[in-house]
Amino acid sequence: MKKKINLIFILFFLIYCSCESISQYKLMIEIPTPTKIDLSSYNKIIFTSFKIESEIKEINFNKEIFNFFSSEIEREFKGKILFKEIDWSQKNIIENKEYWKTLLNNSKTKKLFFTGKLNFKKELRKALLEEQAPATPFPERKLISRLFFTLNLDLYLIDSNTGEIIYEKDFKESRGYKNINQKPNYAFFDILEEVKNKLFREIISHKKREERFLIIK
């Protein structure tokens, strides 16, 4: 009899052990970092021509801006990215909601317009700077020339359904070069890279790996 009771106890113990006892799972998940706007809520991104306030022969600004940003954005954005030429001779088109709502009235998909004004200048600056002289241990003060490029980019992101500006930022970036023959298109890309870093931090979401508990009981 005692043996039977022991056997039943052992059997119960084994059944108990075989029952699941896990009450939680630790999971590494990728959480999107918050951004000022949600690009994924749009089906298309339309780059319009920018209002160019100072032309430089070597650079086709609209083409370069579209190529540069569209190739970067398409890594994160699943929809289409297109270009549309617009007429900047009309007054105050940035604030004109009706203009943006009717600009591409042939489709009902949600679109985001990238538009704005651009001014890119080059300037030769001279300054008295200390420079190590070749044959002496002491630095010499010399009049040195530097070529500076400055980009003023007023960027506006406009929702096609409401015509409202959902993001705006004025970027003012400068870069100086010792080489006074530096080509403007190289400088333009260097500066665009800086703009991109600042802009994408605010509009493109990145993934952050974090640990979370998922609970059963």
């Binding site: 999971l27 999107p32 951004t35 000022k36 998922l214 609970i215």
Partner: protein
């Protein structure tokens, strides 16, 4: 009548067990699909738990994690707060919520910058 009491008691106990078992299954299946990155299905499973028992802290916690994963931070906050209200001493929910708050503060900061 008295002799039916044990039967009624047994039936209630069995029904309770069956409901508990269903909740456990939904929670577990939700986790299983979440591990396979099928978060919409996981949300569906955990919502089923809340239909049976709206006060299930585990389901609220898991839903909050799913919403975080999908970038729906306001919904995630709501669910974490419900879970914490139901199980204020659960260290796992507390840990999840604290990590979430760091991200949520970043979101608030961005929104404030935008308004200013």
């Amino acid at each position: 009548m008295r002799k039916f009491f044990p039967v009624i008691f047994l039936l209630i106990a069995l029904a309770n067990y069956a409901i508990g078992d269903r909740i456990h299954d939904y929670l577990k299946f939700g986790i299983m699909v979440a591990q396979k990155d099928l978060w919409d299905e996981a949300i569906f499973q955990w919502k089923k738990v809340l239909k049976i028992n709206p006060n299930n802290a585990a389901a609220h916690n898991n839903l909050a994690v799913a919403y975080e994963k999908k970038g729906l931070f306001e919904k995630a906050k709501e669910e974490y707060e419900k879970a914490l209200k139901l199980a204020p001493n659960d260290y796992r929910i507390k840990s999840n919520y604290e990590s979430f708050l760091a991200i949520y503060k970043q979101l608030k900061k961005l929104k404030n910058e935008e308004e200013n």
